[in-house]
Symmetry: C2
Subunit: 157 residues, 2 copies
């Protein structure tokens, strides 16, 4: 049962990126921002194409990602599978779980299935966090920080 991500001394490698934001808005509004091209273009990348219930195409200066929408549970859950993009991303899953918490909607985010904790994974983890803050800002104020006006974290982006 132990696969190659298990260290020889028994320590476990990380394979997931996890994040959380709390958004002061109803879950339905967060869900809209995750399932419509207009919403997605407002916090992730302005170059978003496709349909929120089928295949989504996100493009950035340096490349992009194609996501197959695997699950849509309105106001509760969105699940994407990466079907095209950087080699390290293909076959990974991006999961959004929404839940009400007082006057917030809690967003639990997971980018699961990374084979190795490579430097690119470190980069993507930090970058995802900035996009989740952008999502929060979009839903709460109407203005996100989507690419190309996103937060730059290193020489890659």
């Amino acid at each position: 049962m132990c696969n190659r991500t298990l260290h020889i001394d028994g320590k476990i490698e990380m394979v997931d990126i996890l994040h959380k934001v709390g958004i002061k808005a109803p879950a339905a509004e967060v869900y809209t921002a995750l399932t419509t091209t207009e919403g997605l273009a407002g916090w992730w990348t302005t170059d978003t194409q496709g349909k929120g219930d089928d295949l989504l195409q996100f493009r950035f200066a340096a490349g992009g990602f194609d996501m197959k929408v695997l699950e849509l549970d309105p106001g509760k859950r969105v699940l994407w599978e990466v079907v095209d993009g950087p080699e390290e991303w293909i076959g990974t899953h991006v999961v959004w779980d929404l839940a009400p918490a007082d006057d917030y909607t809690t967003v639990l985010f997971k980018h699961q299935g990374w084979a190795e904790p490579v430097e690119f994974m470190h980069h993507c983890s930090t970058k995802w966090a900035t996009y989740l803050v952008s999502l929060k800002s979009l839903v709460e104020t109407g203005k996100g920080a989507a690419h190309p006006d996103d937060v730059k974290i290193d020489s890659w982006d």
Copy 2:
């Protein structure tokens, strides 16, 4: 060799938080921001006490963390062990690896040893990212976003 973070179906739980920023400055300047109370107070929390080569005490509105400094390799590496703070943090390690990359210093960050991928870990992962962006800003511009003027991500902080 398989411990409790191994799922019964053989899938591996994540146990680490990973991040990366690239800072347009010499590694020595980044190292100073990670190893002096003045530097640490500029990007993490203004209420930083202790010595960068011994025990560091970081306090926030909701509590804080005590870090024992385990390794100091000037311009290259800093390693802390959490000796007091929230239960989930105690015994975990925070690692900073610095390396030059063109006119940047690459900072690879790991917060290792989480027992379970609880909601608090999701929160801390996102929050760490905002503090790494704060560290980058401090070193590059002289102004970070340390607590209490840090980026708020949810109802917890």
